[in-house]
């Protein structure tokens, strides 16, 4: 019987084809994609926008097929950039994505009606498909039974039910494709009213067919969209004779209205009404009064008091684990690159090439790889929590607090990650759906005091802040340290409030966040996705970081310093010290040194001299490099390091006044500058990747530097007047 109602095609898979996964968010679509493709994936931004394209390959019965994981969508009425890509790809008019030959329409069985809404829209486009029902175990728990055969008869496509969390879900899908094949759905299965059908036909016949390049199968759905929107403003097609279209749309809308239909709502209402009626035969619901797992967990996890407390505990466990797991890996990576650099350095003849390899390229790669443990561990947690359904609850619980400061409930985890390092934090903003909220979160995230600032704070505080006890265990040094963290947070909140006002809102997108059922996530999918994040960082941000490392190396190495006779005499006397002095002399007269001298007048009001100026340039590689640069400038030997530097900084005398050159005011000013200046090329590289444009990293660099400059200036003046005056 099914073969009568369904015109199944099986031959289609004998040829290499492009298979697209379509479905609502939270349906297990990504899990299926990961199971089908494993690590044979390629993730990159679509050109010009920040939506990711997920492509992979899989072998079905000896034939290699392409798999595209289209962005999750609730509707084809493309309100958001990612839904628009799904829509345009399906109608075959998106230049940057292949036209799919067949679809896997992923439908959440525990949430059938809303999922079928999208499915019914997709079916109107008449692309061969297999409907894949997921989460039937959750449906079971709720007493929902779905007759796949009935569903298949209603919609005219083959239906299979799988468990996306089982290890073999890819096998189940491949087998179904092989045995049941796919079928091309018929349009208007949802029985639109005669009136609506006439309106669609007229718009198609009298205007769309002549004035667009849309394929015939895509025209009815575009007609429905135009009828609902009532305007062509939002359209991305080049239409001709828009005036004619506007008149026609208005006329059709009036006809609908005269018959008591709201033209904006009519399509949605009729689709849902058909879905509701048709599911009577295919879905049985047992009335169950007992609470489901989700209800029971939610009573605790989203509780008014317990909810926020549990969220803070989750964050605490999460960041403590990331810290303790990532640190040994980072130390190991650091050591490996230093050892490798030393090995290369000693096996090649000394000279420029040697220095380029060791200090430029190898150090640059090391600076990329060092971020991997943090990124991968953070994303293991994020994908686990996201897949379990908890992330949506965390956002629900925190949204009230976060909207007060102009952010989103989902901004909390990325911002907290920023205290370890801005890079994984910025990558984690991808969980924020709304582009504007996400952009603001990215733009303020570097204000969170990351761990790379610690070495700078440590040197400056121990050199210039008196170790005085205030109350109890609280010391002045500790207070300054705390103040710097707080200052970063205050700047973040303030900047977010300003950006909320000045960034264009665009079309208002409503906040409608689904709270998916709790489930145990598919672990291999979590691991695959986390490793993919690491790969994206290395391949996309990594090349920018290595390039800037090499530029910084050039600035510090050229022009080369020729030792004078005096230097050589010194060297004979005491080799060790002279080598230190040679690198000092080299740095001082390099381009970096010249840069330091050149910006000295500009940074003088902040209490900085040209030596700090050099550090501001070199620490662009990573903030902690500031300490290393000052060590080189002051010819500090490796054995004495921090203590030696502190002594030197304290002892530096201003030749004009005869007084100490660096004071508490300088230290405070420098720390305030470091707290908010965008002194990190890796952050800028990842912002470029995540916003898919150089515009935002440049704006970030600009506004943070200006803020840092004036804050440091005010701090210096204030400290000189009130603390030292």
């Amino acid at each position: 019987m099914s073969n009568q109602t369904i015109n199944a095609q099986k031959e289609i898979l004998r040829q290499p084809s492009t298979i697209a996964l379509v479905g609502n968010p939270n349906t297990g679509k990504s899990t299926i994609f990961n199971a089908l493709t494993g690590l044979r994936q390629k993730i990159a931004n679509y050109p010009g926008i920040t939506v990711e394209r997920k492509m992979g390959t899989t072998i079905i019965n000896g034939v290699l097929h392409k798999i595209i994981d289209l962005p999750g969508a609730y509707s084809l009425n493309h309100k958001k950039a990612d839904e628009r890509i799904t829509y345009e790809t399906l109608i075959g008019s998106y230049d940057h994505e292949e036209k799919p030959d067949l679809l896997l329409m992923v439908v959440d069985a525990s949430n059938l009606e809303r999922n079928l809404f999208l499915a019914s829209q997709v079916m109107d486009l008449q692309i061969p498909m297999l409907m894949v029902l997921t989460m039937s175990d959750i449906a079971d728990e709720r007493g929902i039974r779905i007759q796949s055969q009935q569903l298949s008869n209603v919609w005219g496509v083959p239906v299979i039910s799988i468990n996306a969390r089982s290890k073999k879900c890819d096998v189940q899908i491949k087998q179904a494709l092989f045995e049941q094949g796919v079928a091309t759905p018929k349009p208007f299965k949802w029985n639109p009213s005669k009136l609506l059908r006439q309106a669609v036909d007229r718009l198609d016949r009298e205007w769309l067919s002549e004035h667009t390049q849309l394929p015939e199968r895509a025209r009815p759905i575009e007609a429905l969209r135009l009828l609902a929107e009532g305007s062509l403003e939002d359209s991305f097609y080049q239409y001709s004779e828009e005036e004619k279209a506007k008149k026609l749309i208005e006329e059709l809308q009036n006809t609908l209205e005269a018959q008591g239909e709201n033209p904006t709502a009519v399509e949605v209402v009729q689709r849902y009404s058909f879905i509701g009626d048709s599911s009577e035969g295919s879905v049985t619901k047992e009335q169950r009064d007992e609470q489901t797992w989700t209800d029971r967990l939610d009573n605790v996890l989203t509780h008014r008091v317990a909810g926020p407390v549990i969220f803070v505990l989750v964050l605490l466990v999460m960041f403590q684990s990331i810290f303790s797991w990532a640190t040994p890996f980072m130390d190991m990576i650091d050591m490996l690159f230093i050892e490798f650099g030393a090995f290369v350095g000693s096996s090649l003849p000394a000279g420029l090439l040697n220095s380029l390899l060791v200090d430029g390229i190898i150090a640059g790669f090391g600076g990329v790889v060092i971020f991997l443990p943090q990124i991968i561990f953070l994303f293991l947690f994020i994908y686990f929590l996201e897949g379990s359904g908890y992330m949506a609850r965390a956002a629900f619980v925190m949204d009230g607090f976060m909207t007060k400061v102009g952010l989103h409930g989902r901004s909390v985890v990325p911002l907290m990650s920023g205290f370890a390092c801005a890079i994984p934090g910025i990558m984690a903003t991808r969980t924020i759906e709304n582009w504007r909220d996400r952009l603001i979160t990215i733009m303020i995230l570097p204000f969170m005091a990351c761990s790379a600032r610690l070495p700078v704070y440590a040197v400056m505080i121990s050199a210039f802040v008196p170790d005085k006890r205030i109350i109890g265990f609280l010391t002045l040094q500790g207070l300054v340290f705390f103040g710097l963290y707080l200052f970063g947070i205050v700047m973040a909140v303030g900047s977010a409030a300003v950006m909320k006002r000045i960034f264009p809102t665009g079309k208002p997108t409503p906040f409608l966040m689904e709270l998916p059922s709790y489930k145990w996530p598919n672990i291999s999918s979590v691991v695959i996705q986390s490793l993919e994040r690491g790969k994206i960082f290395v391949t996309e941000a990594g090349k920018i970081i290595v390039a800037i490392s090499i530029i910084l190396w050039v600035l510090a190495s050229f022009p080369t310093y020729e030792p004078t006779a005096n230097d050589l005499a010194d060297m004979d006397a005491n080799r060790q010290i002279s080598e230190q002095m040679l690198s000092t002399l080299q740095l001082n007269q390099s381009y970096a040194g010249t840069f330091g001298q050149w910006i000295e007048p500009a940074i003088e009001p902040l209490g900085f001299d040209w030596k700090i100026g050099i550090g501001l340039l070199t620490s662009f590689a990573a903030r902690e490099v500031m300490v290393g640069t000052l060590n080189t400038i002051y010819s500090i030997e490796e054995t004495e390091e921090q203590l030696g530097l502190i002594e030197r900084l304290r002892g530096e005398i201003d030749p004009e006044t005869g007084l100490p050159k660096y004071t508490l005011a300088t230290a405070l000013s420098l720390m305030i500058f470091f707290a908010i200046a965008m002194q990190c090329m890796s952050t800028l590289a990842i912002v470029k990747r995540e916003t898919n444009s150089w515009k935002w990293p440049l704006i970030m660099f600009g506004y943070m530097t200006v803020l840092a400059y004036f804050s440091a200036w005010i701090t210096y003046e204030w400290a000189n007047t009130f603390l030292l005056g």
Partner: protein, 72 residues
């Protein structure tokens, strides 16, 4: 009345959706005639969590202001 005035644990029938976000709200299943239940409110009062067509959805104040309901 509007969803923003609704009480937790009570069920309501959606009458109509107002404003420019109408389509999006209805696409999520809040069509006229559908039944929704208010499950809970977040710590600061919003978002509000409702059950609609068998799944859980959260809405901010602005969205609940646009949903006209009647108690059942």
């Amino acid at each position: 009345m509007f969803l923003s005035d609704a009480h937790v644990h009570k069920k309501y029938k959606v009458k109509q959706i107002q404003g420019d976000k109408l389509v999006r709200i209805m696409e999520m299943g809040l069509t006229p005639g559908s039944i929704c239940e208010v499950i809970r409110r977040a710590p600061m009062g919003y978002p509000m969590e409702i059950k609609i067509r068998g799944y859980l959805l959260s809405l901010r104040k602005k969205e609940t202001d646009a949903v006209e309901v009647s108690p059942i």
